[in-house]
C-alpha cells in the first residue's frame, strides 16, 4: 500500500511540474508578451520598458525557473490589472468556487445515486429509461444555455431566485444545479452499472437465500460495494467541475476563481492566468490522487495497477 501511494505521489508531482511548465509557456505563444500587454497602440519604447520591468528580456527558461521558485513559496507575482498579489486574489475568489464545487458535487450525488440504484433494481423499466434519457440529455445540454433558461424561468418569470451575484445562499441554488447536472450522468451510469454487477453476484444470492429483507440486501450488501467506484469518480468529477465552473460563474456573475480567470484572460493579466491554470490543475491532480488512494485502500486489487 505504501509503495503504491509513493508511486502515485511521485507521478502526481511529475504531472504537476509538467503542467506548470506548459501553463507557463502557453502564454509565450504570442511570441512577445510585452507587446501583447502594452496593446496595439503602444510605442516601441513603451514595449521595451514593459519588457524590462517584467523581465521578459531574459531567456524563457530562466523566467520559468524564477516563477516556479516563487510559486512554490506561494508567491505568484502581482496582478497586472488589480495591482494586488495574485495569491491573495485567488485565495479570496476560491471560496466562492469551492462552495459552488462542493454544493454541485453533493447535488449530483444526492440526485444521481438514487436514480442509478432505482434504474438498476428495475432494468428497462420506465424509471430506467427516464434516467437514461436524463443522462444522455445531460451530456448534450450546453451548460451556459441551461443556466440562462433557469434564469428566465426562476428569476424572471417566477421571481423566486436572484438571477446573479453571490450574496446569500439563494444565489447558489441555480449555479449548483447547473454545475451538478453536468456531473450527474457519469455518476448515475456508474451507480447503475455497479449495482447491476453486484446484484448478480453470489453473495447477494446468499443474502437473499438466508432470508435477509430486500431493503437490507439492497442497502447494506449491494449499495455499499457498488458505491466504492462512485466515490472516486465523484472526486475526479469535482476536479473537472472546478475547471468547468468558469462558464457557470460567468453566466450567474458569481465572482469566484472561474470568473476571475475569464476577467484576467480578457484583460491580458498574464500572472493571474498562469497561476489560475496551475491552481485548477493542482485541484484536479490532488483529487485524482486522493481517488486513486481511496480506491486502493478500499479495493486491494487496485494496488497492483
Amino acid at each position: 500500500m505504501l509503495a503504491f501511494i509513493l508511486k502515485r505521489l511521485g507521478l502526481a508531482v511529475l504531472v504537476a511540474f509538467t503542467v506548470s511548465f506548459i501553463s507557463f509557456s502557453l502564454l509565450f505563444l504570442s511570441g512577445d508578451p510585452a507587446a501583447a500587454l502594452a496593446g496595439e497602440t503602444a510605442s516601441g519604447e513603451d514595449v521595451e520598458a514593459l519588457r524590462r520591468l517584467y523581465g521578459f528580456d531574459r531567456p524563457m527558461l530562466v523566467q520559468y525557473g524564477d516563477w516556479l521558485f516563487s510559486a512554490l513559496q506561494g508567491d505568484f507575482g502581482e496582478s497586472y490589472y488589480f495591482k494586488l498579489p495574485v495569491a491573495s486574489l485567488i485565495a479570496e475568489r476560491l471560496q466562492v468556487t469551492m462552495t459552488l464545487g462542493v454544493c454541485g458535487i453533493l447535488f449530483a450525488l444526492i440526485t444521481a445515486v438514487p436514480l442509478g440504484v432505482v434504474a438498476a433494481i428495475r432494468p428497462n423499466s420506465i424509471i430506467d429509461r427516464v434516467a437514461l434519457f436524463l443522462s444522455v440529455a445531460g451530456q448534450a445540454m450546453p451548460s451556459f444555455w441551461f443556466g440562462l433558461i433557469l434564469i428566465v424561468i426562476f428569476a424572471i418569470q417566477l421571481g423566486m431566485l436572484p438571477p446573479s451575484g453571490a450574496d446569500s445562499w439563494q444565489h447558489f441554488i441555480m449555479p449548483t444545479i447547473v454545475l451538478g447536472y453536468y456531473a450527474m450522468p457519469a455518476i448515475m451510469r456508474l451507480t447503475r452499472a455497479g449495482m447491476l454487477d453486484v446484484l448478480n453476484s453470489d453473495y447477494i444470492r446468499t443474502a437473499r437465500a438466508k432470508g435477509a429483507g430486500e431493503s437490507r440486501v439492497l442497502f447494506k450488501h449491494a449499495l455499499r460495494n457498488a458505491i466504492i467506484p462512485v466515490v472516486s469518480l465523484a472526486a475526479v468529477q469535482m476536479g473537472f467541475m472546478l475547471g468547468g465552473s468558469i462558464v457557470v460563474e460567468s453566466v450567474f456573475a458569481l465572482h469566484g476563481a472561474g470568473y476571475l480567470a475569464w476577467e484576467s484572460i480578457a484583460r491580458n493579466d498574464l500572472p493571474t492566468v498562469q497561476a489560475l491554470i496551475l491552481v485548477f490543475s493542482m485541484f484536479y491532480i490532488v483529487f485524482t490522487f486522493l481517488a486513486d488512494v481511496l480506491n486502493a485502500w478500499l479495493d486491494p486489487r487496485m494496488r497492483s495497477a
Binding site: 507521478l11 511529475l14 503542467v19 501553463s23 502557453l26 444555455w145 462558464v247
Partner: protein
C-alpha cells in the same frame, strides 16, 4: 465487423455478420433518430445558401428584434431578427456550418493525434506506453475551457485558431480508448503470426490492428465531435471563440443574453438547436457502440 475475420462464421447458415449488423442498426431507435437529425443538419449546412431566406450578415436598423412568426411576427422573418436586424433563421442555418465544421475538423485532428499515441502505447508497451500514459495524465490535469480561452485570447479568435486549439486539446479520450483496444488486439494470435512471418510494424498496425479497432474509433470520433461543438459554443458564448459577425450558435446565445428579459426566444432558439445537434450526435455515437459491440451492451 470483428466476426468476419473468423473463417467459421462464413459456413454457418443464416444471416451474415454484416446483415446482422444492419438489422441491429435498423432496430436501434436512438441510432436512427441521431443519424436522421445529424443528416438533416448536415444537408442544411451544405445547402445553406439555397435554404437561407436572407443574407445572414445583412443588417437592417429599421427591422431590429422582429419577433418570430409564432410570437406575432411575419413570414418574412420566420424566426424574427436580432438586435442588428439580421434574419435569425438565416443566421441559424449558416451557424450549422460553423458548428459542424469545427466539430468535424477538431475531431479529425484530435483523433489523429490520440489514435497515433494510443496505438503506439498499446502496441509497443513498455517505455512508449509509460510516456503516453504520462502525457494523458498531464493533458487531463489541464482545465480545457481555461486553457482554450487563454490560447484563443492570445492568438486571436479566428475559426482556424478555435479548430486547432480544440483539436490539440481533445485527444485524451482517443488515446485512452485506442490504447486499451490496441493492447487487447495485439495479444491475439494473428498479430503474433504476422510478426512471425516477418511483416513490418507499419503493415501490422495498418492491416491487423487498425481494422479491428476501427469501430471503437468511429464511436469516439462522434462523441468527441459533440464535445468539440459544445466547447466551441461555450468559448464563443464567453466572447473568446468565434468572433462576430460570424453566425455561431454560442455567439448568438451570448448576443441575445442582454435582451433575454424581454425577448427570451433570442436565447432559446439557438440553444435549442445546439442542444438538438449535440444530443443527436451523442445518440448516434451511443447507438454505434451498441450496434457494433453487442456483447458490451448493458
Amino acid at each position: 465487423m470483428t466476426d468476419s475475420t473468423d473463417p467459421l462464421s462464413r459456413e454457418i447458415e443464416g444471416p451474415s455478420p454484416r446483415q446482422m449488423l444492419k438489422a441491429r442498426a435498423l432496430s436501434h431507435w436512438g441510432l436512427i433518430f441521431g443519424m436522421a437529425v445529424v443528416g438533416l443538419l448536415l444537408l442544411v449546412a451544405i445547402f445553406a445558401p439555397l435554404l437561407a431566406p436572407h443574407d445572414p450578415y445583412a443588417q437592417s436598423l429599421m427591422k431590429r428584434m422582429v419577433p418570430p412568426v409564432f410570437m406575432g411576427g411575419t413570414w418574412e422573418h420566420p424566426l424574427g431578427t436580432d438586435h442588428l436586424g439580421r434574419d435569425y433563421l438565416s443566421r441559424l442555418i449558416y451557424g450549422a456550418r460553423v458548428s459542424l465544421l469545427i466539430g468535424a475538423v477538431a475531431a479529425l485532428i484530435s483523433g489523429f493525434i490520440g489514435t497515433a499515441m494510443g496505438v503506439a502505447a498499446g502496441y509497443f508497451g513498455g517505455k512508449v506506453d509509460a510516456v503516453v500514459t504520462f502525457l494523458i495524465n498531464v493533458r487531463l490535469a489541464m482545465p480545457v475551457v481555461l486553457v482554450a480561452l487563454a490560447v484563443v485570447a492570445i492568438l486571436g479568435g479566428s475559426l482556424t485558431v478555435v479548430i486547432c486549439v480544440l483539436g490539440l486539446l481533445l485527444w485524451d479520450r482517443f488515446a485512452v480508448v485506442m490504447r486499451a483496444s490496441t493492447l487487447q488486439i495485439s495479444r491475439r494470435d494473428y498479430v503474433a503470426a504476422a510478426q512471425v512471418i516477418g511483416a513490418s510494424t507499419p503493415r501490422i498496425v495498418l492491416t491487423e490492428i487498425m481494422p479491428n479497432v476501427f469501430n471503437n474509433l468511429i464511436v469516439i470520433v462522434t462523441l468527441e465531435m459533440a464535445h468539440a461543438i459544445l466547447l466551441e459554443a461555450a468559448l464563443s458564448f464567453l466572447g473568446l471563440g468565434v468572433q462576430p459577425p460570424i453566425p455561431s450558435w454560442g455567439l448568438m446565445v451570448s448576443e441575445g443574453k442582454n435582451m433575454m428579459l424581454f425577448e427570451p426566444w433570442l436565447v432559446l432558439i439557438p440553444g435549442a438547436v445546439l442542444f438538438a445537434l449535440v444530443l443527436a450526435i451523442n445518440l448516434m455515437g451511443d447507438g454505434l457502440r451498441d450496434v457494433t459491440a453487442p456483447e458490451g451492451r448493458s
